[in-house]
């Protein structure tokens, strides 16, 4: 569904044919003396069909990195290649369209629209893409069934528990079948049991062939769910551990 937007890989991205590749990413905020470098030449590859955990202490640049990977922020230098498409070739409306079709978001605070029912919330990414409301709602109901909330489709976020809201958020992130799923601290606001349910769901539902899932987390309990753990500190990648290494 993204053929019109997917560009040929650049020479800089030749090492990757799919997934996410960050190349020499530098991000600075502010100007002059107030300039702060948040990311220092970050290079990292995440192949498809993997769940990557991005971990590290607060302020180490995790959020900035996933914001850049998701196309929400521009790097000061370097580039991100998403599914063979250098982001530097996407600007303005093309980047927004690329994001709308290829990226799904799960936020720490869920960010569900409080006035919309669970099904209506899930249908939003499809509405953004211009899908008619009845079809979008039909698809939303199906995805809610998939995440185990079929019987909660007509309820407002305020009528759902934290864990259920996060599952709705996951359904919303997946309803348009994105190739990149970005999850920001998805278990931070949940108790242990709900957090486990959510991570199992992400592991089971999100990690599909051709899809990359990146989860930013502080939560050590979820490390077991990752295929790849990327540790950051002071704006740099300190260590990358794969499942093979993890055993």
């Amino acid at each position: 569904m993204t053929t019109t937007l997917v560009e040929q890989p650049s020479s800089a991205a030749s090492a990757m044919t799919s997934g996410v590749a960050c190349r020499n990413l530098i991000k600075e905020f502010g100007d002059g003396d107030a300039k702060i470098r948040v990311l220092h030449s970050v290079n990292v590859d995440i192949p498809t069909s993997e769940l990557a955990l991005l971990v590290g202490p607060s302020g180490c640049g995790k959020t900035t990195l996933i914001s850049i990977i998701a196309g929400l922020l521009f790097p000061t230098q370097g580039d991100v290649v998403l599914f063979d498409t250098p982001q530097s070739q996407l600007r303005g409306r093309r980047l927004v369209q690329f994001r709308a079709k290829n990226v799904g978001f799960v936020f720490q605070q869920y960010n569900l629209l409080p006035a919309l029912t669970a099904a209506e919330n899930v249908s939003v990414p499809l509405l953004i893409q211009g899908v008619a409301r009845p079809q979008a709602l039909e698809r939303a109901h199906a995805v809610l069934e998939f995440v185990g909330l079929g019987n909660r489709a007509r309820q407002l976020p305020s009528q759902l528990s934290g864990g259920q809201q996060q599952r709705v958020a996951i359904a919303r992130a997946l309803v348009h079948e994105p190739r990149l799923l970005v999850c920001d601290e998805p278990t931070a606001a949940l108790d242990a049991k709900s957090g486990q349910t959510v991570m199992e769901l992400i592991r089971q539902v999100a990690v599909q062939p051709g899809r990359v899932v990146i989860v930013v987390t502080h939560d050590h309990r979820v490390f077991d769910y990752g295929d790849r753990v990327i540790e950051m500190a002071d704006g740099r990648i300190e260590n990358v551990t794969t499942r093979t290494t993890l055993g």
Binding site: T63, R99, V103, F105, N111, A115
Partner: protein, 380 residues
């Protein structure tokens, strides 16, 4: 996404109604106060408005308004009748005198209007009780509906034949007319010109105005110029005369300043309430807009959503505000002291323009927050 915008707007009922009533209150302030001001100014020109059958008013060149009259001489009437383009010209008297109710002994100051004996030009159009022709009877007078209550008592049923005394002369009620309310809360007494001269203290000259009509094929403006050039008197068309009178009150009284302040305050308060509530509504939803932006809604799409919300709030708020103002005027129209107060369509249009300006301004102020919003805010 229009549907999402609608749901975001109306999902929180308390917030939605708060925003709508903010706009409605602003519109109510603007439309009600402006209408009262316009109606009050219109009352100052009641003498002119009530005369429907003459297009031209002629009066002394030094006269500044229809309350402070310098009477014309009978020869002025003859001169006006001789001006080229004048089809006809008749006398018109306006004066204030004291009228005593002979039944109860109470008295009121009244506005006395003397209309042409022969043609009855200058009489109000609508007669509620009696017949205009009865004015030709001896001592006859007619009074406006509110004036009847002022003279004979509130709620008193209309009974013709009742008598007054004016300037030691007996006057008999032969009819009640529907006339535009004057600025002062005085009864408007209509009688024949010759009769009116008996009801006021005698002066050498008593003719307040000459009412005239242009000949066919000549405009009132042309004939007014002709009269002024020929007689050195001032001649104005009916519309010019209304504005002449309103202009005097605008220039010479504190009414426009006081009402102007009220209207400006209404506008400022209305803007503050309506604008701020809508601005806050958008700002409170900024994280939701950020999430939508992250998910792929463009700035143009978000602009459309905010403008749609603004349009809904504006339309509903305007409808409620103008509706409340209309209910006020509808519910008070039967009150004697408030008769003639109404909401002109121009005021409703002004309020619509004001609310559009308020809402569009508030939208663009809040949209600036949305436009510069980094979608990455959703990760913070």
């Amino acid at each position: 996404m229009n549907w999402v915008a609608w749901k975001m707007l109306t999902g929180d009922r308390a917030k939605y109604f708060g925003t709508v009533f903010g706009v409605a209150f602003g519109v109510l302030l603007i439309s009600q106060q402006t209408s009262i001001f316009v109606s009050l100014m219109r009352r100052t020109a009641a003498t002119v408005i009530n005369v429907r059958d003459a297009q031209i008013w002629v009066f002394d060149q030094n006269m500044q308004n229809t309350e402070e009259i310098k009477p014309l001489s009978e020869s002025d009437l003859t001169r006006i009748r001789g001006v080229s383009g004048v089809k006809w010209a008749v006398r018109f008297l306006k004066a204030q005198t004291r009228a005593r109710n002979l039944e109860s002994g109470t008295f009121r100051q009244v506005i006395l209007l003397g209309i042409d004996d022969t043609t009855l030009v200058g009489a109000p159009v609508k007669v509620i009780a009696g017949s205009l022709a009865d004015l030709r009877k001896p001592d006859a007078f007619m009074v406006d509906q509110a004036g009847y209550e002022y003279l004979f008592g509130v709620g008193e049923p209309i009974r013709l034949g009742r008598t007054l005394e004016m300037n030691d002369s007996r006057a008999v009620l032969v009819g009640v007319v529907d006339a535009h309310a004057p600025f002062e809360t005085f009864p408007m007494v209509y009688t024949r010109y010759s009769q009116a001269t008996r009801f006021v203290a005698t002066e050498r000259k008593v003719m307040s105005f000459v009412l005239a009509e242009p000949q066919d094929g000549r405009t009132a403006e042309q004939v007014c110029r002709q009269i002024q050039e020929t007689t050195s008197l001032t001649a104005k068309t009916r519309t010019e005369m209304i504005w002449f009178q309103v202009g005097y009150y605008m220039r010479s009284t504190g009414i426009p300043i006081n009402f102007g302040i009220t209207i400006v305050l209404g506008f400022v308060v209305g803007t503050a309430i309506a604008g701020q509530t809508f601005y806050l509504f958008t700002v409170e939803n900024i994280k939701q807009f950020g999430a939508l932006k992250a998910m792929g809604v463009t700035n143009l799409g978000l602009t459309g959503m905010v403008l749609l919300q603004a349009t809904i709030v504006g339309l509903v708020g305007y409808g409620l505000g103008v509706g409340m103002a209309a209910v006020f005027f509808e519910s008070t129209k039967g009150m004697t002291h408030l008769r003639g107060f109404y909401m002109p369509w121009q005021v409703a249009a002004l309020a619509a323009g004001a609310v559009a300006l308020i809402i569009v301004s508030a939208s663009f102020v809040s949209l600036r927050r949305v436009w510069v919003l980094e979608p990455a805010i959703v990760f913070r």
